[in-house]
Structures are given as structure tokens and as C-alpha cells.
């Protein structure tokens, strides 16, 4: 049985195909650019293409992410916090604490061995604590996004940004540039200031080993190091971490599908 998880995120639309709730067959992602439904379809096509299957081979589709309700051809939708908890535990079964930093928000959650979210906390309404902040800094400093992290890792004396606002932080960064703070130190400062915000969420939830980072920021080793340095715990960063929520959605879809085939006609709960 193949289930699909689609994570219709604010920044990136991601999807996976999962076989029997066990194996990831395919994964894909494209930038959302404000059009989640269109991108969702596109990701679905990419996935199906990758495994040489037909759209009908996908038996169950579960959406998650900010636009989970917008995607019409879904069987189920789950919150992206629920989904990324599941996905993180799928990727690393020893995970008990998940940090999810995406484009617009960051969350920390404690999870059970099944990946059930026990407690969680997310940042609210302010972009200063999310990936968008890194993107903007990249743009401002004219460093390609992919190079932000490798460059940051060379920092000797990271310069932490004190401004609470992602937008105004740019001015602060400019000042740092003007004061000839080395680029690496500025870049690492960006990650550290994100880490500090995430750390507050983590502490609220209660930190238990093992800690796993998921969401788009998992692609930045500097983010992982910054978190470790701030929270003083080892932080795992699974390579498929950006797809954690998509995987979790596919998993939950799979579970639901099984329940349905066991006991027909139970209504979808969340609506």
C-alpha cells in the first residue's frame, strides 16, 4: 500500500510516498511561492514520476502544513506539529524531543515512542524566530542560501543579533558589516539568535534526549551546531529532516487507511 504525505508549507512544498508505512519510496520539494495547491499537485506529479507509478497507485493522501485545508484531493489532513513529531520518530526512533524550524515558524515538542506529541510550544506571529530570517539575511548579505551554513561554520567570535525583529535585524547586520565584523561571525550570529529563540521553546516543553532537528533548517549544519551550543545537548539532524512532516502525514494516512479497511465508514474526525 502506498500513502502520500504532502506538506504544504509556507516556504516549501514537500511530499513523500511511503510504502506500507515503512519505506520512503520517493521525496520531492518545490518552493511554494504563495501557491500551495498548484505546488502540491506539482510535487505529487514529481513523486509519482520518480517511482514510475500512476497517480491512482497512491491509495491515501494526507496533507499537512499551513495550507493543509486548501488542497482539495486529500483523504485526511493533520496539523504539521502532529505530523513532524511522527516523522521525526520515524527518522530516528530514539527521538523524544523534536525541534522543527521551518520558514515561518519554529516549534519544540516532546514526543512519545510512537511519535505522539505530548507537549509542544511554537513561536507566534513574529518572523524573528524562523527560517525566513535566514533567507532574508542571505539575500541581504548576498550569500547564496546554500552557502550560509558552510560560511558560518568558520566563525571564531559569532556576533549575536540583539534586535528582536527580523526586519530591523538587517540594519543591525549592516552595522556589523560596517564595523568590519567578519562575515562568518555575522552569519553564525544569525543562527545563534535563531537557536536562542528555539531554546526558549525547548525549555518550556522540557528537553529530553534524544533531540532531533527537523524542518528546512536541518539542511544547515550551522543551525545544528548553534542549537547544540545553546541548548548544550547533542542534536540529531536526519538528512530527510525537511520532509519529516510529509513523512509523518504519510504515516498517519497509512494508519488511518488501515483502520478504515478494518472498520469501514468511520467519519473523518477533524473538519
Amino acid at each position: 500500500m502506498i500513502s502520500c504525505g504532502l506538506d504544504l508549507g509556507a516556504g516549501t512544498t514537500k511530499g513523500v510516498l511511503l510504502e506500507d508505512g515503512e519505506r520512503v519510496l520517493a521525496s520531492a520539494s518545490v518552493p511554494t511561492r504563495g501557491n500551495p495547491v498548484e505546488r502540491g499537485r506539482q510535487v505529487l506529479e514529481l513523486l509519482v514520476e520518480e517511482v514510475n507509478a500512476l497517480p491512482d497507485d497512491v491509495e491515501y493522501l494526507c496533507t499537512t502544513g499551513a495550507a493543509r485545508y486548501a488542497f482539495p484531493d486529500r483523504n485526511l489532513q493533520v496539523s504539521d506539529i502532529t505530523a513532524s513529531g511522527r516523522g521525526a520518530v520515524f527518522l530516528n526512533p530514539a527521538t523524544r524531543h523534536v525541534v522543527d524550524i521551518g520558514n515561518q515558524s519554529s516549534r519544540a515538542m516532546s514526543v512519545s515512542e510512537t511519535g505522539r506529541v505530548v507537549r509542544f510550544k511554537m513561536n507566534e506571529k513574529c518572523a524573528a524566530g524562523a527560517g525566513r530570517f535566514v533567507d532574508r539575511c542571505a539575500k541581504y548579505l548576498q550569500v547564496p542560501l546554500e552557502e550560509m551554513s558552510p560560511k558560518a561554520l568558520a566563525a571564531a567570535n559569532p556576533k549575536i543579533i540583539s534586535s528582536v525583529c527580523a526586519v530591523l535585524a538587517e540594519t543591525e547586520i549592516i552595522n556589523n558589516v560596517a564595523e568590519e565584523v567578519p562575515l562568518a561571525d555575522i552569519l553564525m550570529g544569525v543562527y545563534l539568535s535563531l537557536a536562542q529563540r528555539a531554546y526558549l521553546l525547548m525549555r518550556y516543553v522540557g528537553i529530553q534526549p534524544e533531540v532531533t532537528l527537523v524542518g528546512g533548517l536541518v539542511r544547515s549544519e550551522a543551525m545544528v551546531r548553534a542549537l547544540e551550543r545553546t541548548a548544550k545537548v547533542p542534536v540529531g539532524a536526519p538528512p530527510m529532516g525537511q520532509h519529516a512532516a510529509a513523512i509523518g502525514a504519510a504515516l498517519l494516512g497509512y494508519t488511518r487507511m488501515q483502520k478504515l479497511s478494518a472498520k469501514p465508514a468511520s467519519p473523518v474526525v477533524t473538519a
Binding site: A66, V78, S79, D80, I81, T82, S105, T114, R116, V117, V118, R119, F120, M122, E124, K125, L252, T255, P267, V269, T270, A271
Partner: protein, 412 residues
């Protein structure tokens, strides 16, 4: 500050809409024949920041008193022939442009919108305002009202926090006399004990019926939605009590016939919104995502006590009721008892989890949440803490968190 200068039409706000007009005797409510009709009417009244029911009441020359939440002894206001009305803020519809200047940035919405309503003449139907000392904001708001609305009578009611001292009831009785003196200035009749006794009895009747309504919600949560229960209760401090009691009787009869539509929802306790009220959209949303709110702290005012015996001296009986037997909420000292209290309430409501829904910047509520959390953690009871503001129009993040909470209980 320029008073009463409403500048230009406000896009998307209710100012641009025609305020609801009601007949002087509020006959519309008598005609509402079903819960649906009643809640529809209630919704219009609640969403109209110009207090249509109060304007209807005062058209006949009668006086009304605005009572800031909570624990204002509205019986006293009623007993001197004035209409006690709860000021529950501006909801989603009031844009704040004057009040910010006086209040500063880090304050709850209800304080700002209440002042905004005053500065834009929408509290004109009231002759007097009572602010109980439930928190520093409510208390200070009275000081601001007294300056910016020199024409109105304002009063800050000191509510005692020492519940052990034998001197507390006599003190509070004296406090109530100070309030009576102010009400008299606002055109209230002189105080007569027998009238207060009658008012207390009337409020007892209202409370008993509301208690029944909330019991129904607890025992058969599929019978009525939280929004319905809320709107019906909310009318209780916007209409003459006599009218509301009749409405409640009708509601009771109708509920007797309604089926208890069971859904796959979790039973949840809703703690925190005892003063500022969430918007109707938010109240809707909480149940929509898959919760049954089996007990809540919305609109506490009808539920402080079971019953008050007026006795020989109704004024001190009323004071004693506050000191000795009210429901504990975040604005009443209960040292060393908070943790226990929440566990008892969870148990009583047979709730599977707790949602703390606290007004942004509402410090009394925020501080209690920590004590509650600790107790819930010890027992492994799930909870979620959300903050709300009056003028939020987008609930994406709130919905996300509510759904996660429900899913964490429903999915294993």
C-alpha cells in the same frame, strides 16, 4: 487628546454599519422562538459595540451602569433601580485609535477597547462605571476614566483579598456603602434593604438557571454548542434580568427536546477567559476542531455563587457571599490551593485535557497557568496554553495548535 473625534469611516469595521435598533421593551427577545433565533439575535447584540439593549432600556429615561468584570455586585446596582450591564470589551469590531495613547502597549485588549468605546461616545448610555480591583489594569482604568469622562460617575471598588480576617466582611460592607453613595449620585434610588433582598433573590433565580445550562453542557455536551451556551449567558448581563430569566426558561424547555448529538470529540476544560472574552470566532473554533468544552471560565459573573441568602442584613450577606463562598478564579487569592483546585475541576468535569485560553497581557491568568501546569504535569493530564486578543482576525496558528492538541489525545 481629542475626545470623541471619530475620524472618517473605518474600513471593515462595524462603525460603518447601522447599529442594531431594538424596541424599548426589548420585545424582539420575547418573540425569539428557538435557540437558533435567540442566538442569532444575541450575536447581533454582542457584535454591536454601541450597546443596543442598553440604549433601548435607557430610552425610557432609565439609567444603566457599566460594570467592568468581574465580581462587581450587580445586585446592588439592580436594587437601586439601575440596569447593571457587564462591560466585556469591544470584541473584534472596535478599532483602537484613541485608547492606545492613554494606556500603553502592553495591556489586555479589554482595557483598551473599553476605553476606546468611552472615548468614541459608545458608552454614552451609561451613567456610571464600576471597576472592581481585580487587577492593576482594571483599577488604573478607573483612574483614567475619571479624568477623561468627567461627566460620568466612576468608582473603583476595592475587593478584599484577605479571606481569613473577621474584619473583612464589615470592611466590604462599608465598601459597598461607598458604592451605593456613588450610585445615588448617578441617579440611583436610596438604598433600601428589602429591595436589595428582592434583587438578590432575582439574581439567585438567574444563577440557578445558568447553572442548569452549564450542567447540561457538562453532562450532555452534544446538546448545545459552546457558542450557543455562551451567547445565551452573555445576554444575561446585557438585558434586564427579568427578561433573561424568561429566556432561560424557554431555552430549558427546548433543550429538553434536543438530541445529544455525540461526536468523536474530547472532553476539555476551558480555563482563563474570566474577564476579557474571546471573539465568537475563537469560541466557535475551539469546539470545531474536535473539543467538547464541558466546563469553562467564560463570563464568570453569573456563577460566583450557588445561592445567596439575603438574611436580615442583605448588604452584609452580599459582602459575606463574596468573602466566603464564591467560585475561585484567577483574581481571587487562594494561596497553596491552586494546584489542587485544577485537579478537582478536571475530575469533576471528567475532562481529558485542559485548554488555557488567556487574554494576552492578562497577568493574573498567566500566573495561574504556571501553577496549574505543574499540578497537571504531575498527573499526566494534557493541556494547551493559548493566548488571545480581541482584534485578531486570523486564527491559523491557533487552529494549528488546537488541532495538534486534539490529535495528540485522539491518535495514539
Amino acid at each position: 487628546m481629542t475626545l470623541l473625534a471619530v475620524t472618517g469611516p473605518e474600513v471593515g469595521s462595524l462603525d460603518a454599519m447601522v447599529p442594531l435598533e431594538l424596541s424599548d421593551d426589548l420585545r424582539e427577545f420575547a418573540r425569539a422562538s428557538s435557540i437558533e433565533e435567540l442566538t442569532k439575535l444575541a450575536r447581533e447584540v454582542v457584535l454591536d459595540p454601541s450597546y443596543p439593549t442598553v440604549r433601548a432600556w435607557t430610552r425610557g429615561g432609565r439609567g444603566a451602569v457599566g460594570c467592568f468584570p468581574v465580581y462587581t455586585p450587580q445586585e446592588l446596582v439592580h436594587a437601586v433601580g439601575l440596569l447593571p450591564v457587564s462591560l466585556h470589551g469591544g470584541g473584534e469590531s472596535v478599532e483602537i485609535s484613541h485608547a492606545d495613547a492613554a494606556l500603553g502597549s502592553f495591556l489586555c485588549s479589554i482595557s483598551k477597547s473599553t476605553l476606546e468605546l468611552a472615548l468614541t461616545a459608545r458608552l454614552a448610555p451609561f451613567r456610571a462605571f464600576v471597576f472592581p480591583y481585580i487587577c492593576d489594569v482594571s483599577r488604573n482604568l478607573e483612574g483614567i476614566f475619571s479624568r477623561l469622562l468627567p461627566g460620568a460617575v466612576t468608582h473603583m471598588l476595592h475587593l478584599p483579598q484577605n479571606f481569613q480576617s473577621p474584619a473583612t466582611v464589615p470592611f466590604l460592607t462599608a465598601e459597598y456603602r461607598r458604592l451605593l453613595a456613588k450610585l445615588e449620585k448617578a441617579g440611583g434610588d436610596p438604598y433600601r434593604p428589602e429591595r436589595l433582598a428582592a434583587s438578590i433573590e432575582l439574581f439567585n433565580q438567574q444563577r440557578a438557571r445558568i447553572a442548569e445550562l452549564t450542567r447540561t453542557k457538562r453532562n450532555e455536551p452534544g446538546k448545545l454548542t459552546l457558542t450557543e451556551s455562551y451567547l445565551i449567558r452573555r445576554l444575561g448581563a446585557l438585558l434586564p434580568r427579568e427578561v433573561h430569566i424568561q429566556l432561560l426558561d424557554r431555552v430549558r424547555t427546548e433543550l429538553g427536546e434536543r438530541p445529544n448529538r455525540a461526536k468523536d470529540s474530547i472532553r476539555v476544560l476551558l480555563i482563563g477567559p474570566f474577564c476579557e472574552q474571546p471573539t465568537l470566532d475563537l469560541i466557535d473554533l475551539v469546539e470545531q476542531v474536535g473539543c467538547y468544552i464541558v466546563d469553562d471560565e467564560l463570563l464568570q459573573l453569573h456563577r460566583w455563587y450557588d445561592r445567596i441568602e439575603p438574611g436580615d442584613d442583605p448588604l452584609s450577606s452580599l459582602a459575606a457571599a463574596y468573602v466566603e463562598s464564591p467560585v475561585d478564579i484567577g483574581v481571587r487569592a487562594a494561596p497553596s490551593r491552586k494546584g489542587e483546585a485544577i485537579l478537582r475541576r478536571v475530575e469533576a468535569a471528567q475532562a481529558q485535557g485542559v485548554i488555557f485560553l488567556t487574554a494576552k497581557f492578562c497577568e493574573p491568568a498567566l500566573e495561574d497557568v504556571v501553577l496549574y501546569r505543574k499540578a497537571l504535569d504531575r498527573q499526566g493530564i494534557p493541556y494547551l496554553h493559548l493566548e488571545f486578543e480581541e482584534r485578531s482576525t486570523s486564527y491559523e496558528q491557533t487552529r494549528l495548535q488546537l488541532e495538534t492538541f486534539v490529535e495528540s489525545i485522539l491518535f495514539d
